[in-house]
Symmetry: C2
DNA sequence: CCTGTTTTCGCCTTAGAGTCGATAACTTGC
DNA sequence: GCAAGTTATCGACTCTAAGGCGAAAACAGG
């Protein structure tokens, strides 16, 4: 019973991915160089139009497949939809941006026109893509502190030192290794594998290897302050929500 | 130089508002009853199509104007875009949902088909609108703890007790009045007006009146944990971002 | 076996939220 | 006007968790 036609005006819609990964101790974003107008020669986010039978994230995965091995994407989350009327000189296009995370030990073979850029030193981007990058980085940094998204940014097994490097790169400032260890274990985010790393040059005590206990998103404590009092149950009312990473 | 046509397929797009407000000590959402198919008789979120020259939030404001006085909306923020192919039986429609907040002392005159529903006891909603409500409530509750969004949910002047009622209603559990007072003042979110409230029946000490210092969004501390060490500046790299409430 | 190097862990400090109870500042009733 | 009742405010303590430092542990190499 498809009751009548849809009464809303239609607009071209594109999906864009802010693919972030720690490359050599620097948080970097995947960009490709446009060959054609508009904005020929500028660097842009990977993405493109939405095929009729695909949801936004499915369409995005297809576009990403032309740039990286999609199986290496450990986390994908919608960030924002931009709608400025003149954001594309060809005509009105709505754009939905996603945050995508790739572990640092994944080494996807990139096409010639594609490469990593440190988010701290970005070139001038095509269209309004810098907004998407800024929002995605902001989102990532916020979530690193109250969720276990770190799993998507870290290798499958790692020493505390390595995790420290990855997290520091992502946050943009140094975190102390001793505190990081305690925070992550206290929250039950990481667990030792039992294995030990081989010491580098100069010897030294071999570091224990850890892994993330869960590789799906878990929220540690959504409300840093104003917690519910002792005995009380939290959050009566409002639907229980599977985390909105699926839109 | 509008270089060529837009190469992306187009889809009808609608905007939806999850209008939240504390009504009589209960967090409530504004719904209207559909008269026509599809989902005739079901309760739905206010919203509608996007006119050609309008951005999403402008289009949403126009639709909301038919339900409430838009000037009463103290906060408006984009939450998510849903794209399930069959979310509308009439055909494919993309939908972007917003969170809108209205203070409890605003008493908008509602149309006949529109009314408030406690978020804890929602009726069956049309389409996938329950997803939007759940996500918006989640977003609000999270932000209450690390931003000053409370200003959009509280009256312009209030006693600590009243603020406690509003915040408790929004969070879904009781918060202690004494602690709330210290937390809000320590962060510099609220300030005393100098006035005092008139005591109710039975007397009692008159409560001091407060107001929010700022009525625009301010983030207290985006990262609850893993703060940067003492002297270090935070967040080198990544664009400074005007908060993404504007999309 | 001794030295240098790196990790790990215990202990202390610091910051901010949660709790409790005493005091302040009013009403009403006698 | 005074006592009793009511409500708000504030100080002092507790509790939780993060940040920091240094000692001890665990290895390699000579």
């Amino acid at each position: 019973m498809s009751a009548g036609p849809v009464p809303f005006p239609a607009y071209p819609h594109e999906v864009l991915a802010v693919v972030l990964s720690v490359r050599g101790d620097t948080l970097s974003v995947l960009l490709w160089r446009r060959k054609q107008a508009p904005h020929a020669g500028r660097w842009a986010l990977p993405g493109g139009g939405v095929e009729p039978k695909l949801r936004l994230r499915e369409a995005l995965s297809k576009h990403l497949a032309t740039k990286v091995d999609v199986r290496e994407i450990a986390w994908l989350e919608q960030v924002a939809t931009h709608s400025r009327v003149d954001r594309d000189p060809r005509g009105r296009v709505l754009a939905t941006g996603y945050l995508a995370l790739i572990p640092p030990d994944a080494e996807p073979a990139l096409p010639d026109d594609t490469s990593w850029f440190p988010v701290a030193q970005l070139p001038r981007l095509a269209f309004d893509h810098h907004y998407f990058v800024a929002a995605a980085v902001e989102r990532l940094r916020a979530k690193l502190s109250y969720t276990n998204v770190g799993f998507a940014l870290a290798p499958s097994e790692f020493t505390i030192q390595r995790l420290r490097e990855v997290v520091s790169a992502a946050l943009g400032y140094d975190v102390g290794p001793t505190n990081l260890h305690r925070v992550m274990t206290r929250r039950g985010m990481i667990e030792p594998t039992g294995e030990r790393s081989v010491p580098g040059q100069g010897g030294g005590r071999p570091a224990a290897l850890y892994r993330f206990r869960e590789r799906t998103l878990e929220v540690t404590d959504p409300f840093a302050v104003l917690r519910p009092p002792k005995g009380e149950q939290r959050r009566q009312g409002g639907d229980k929500l599977t985390h909105p990473g699926h839109v």
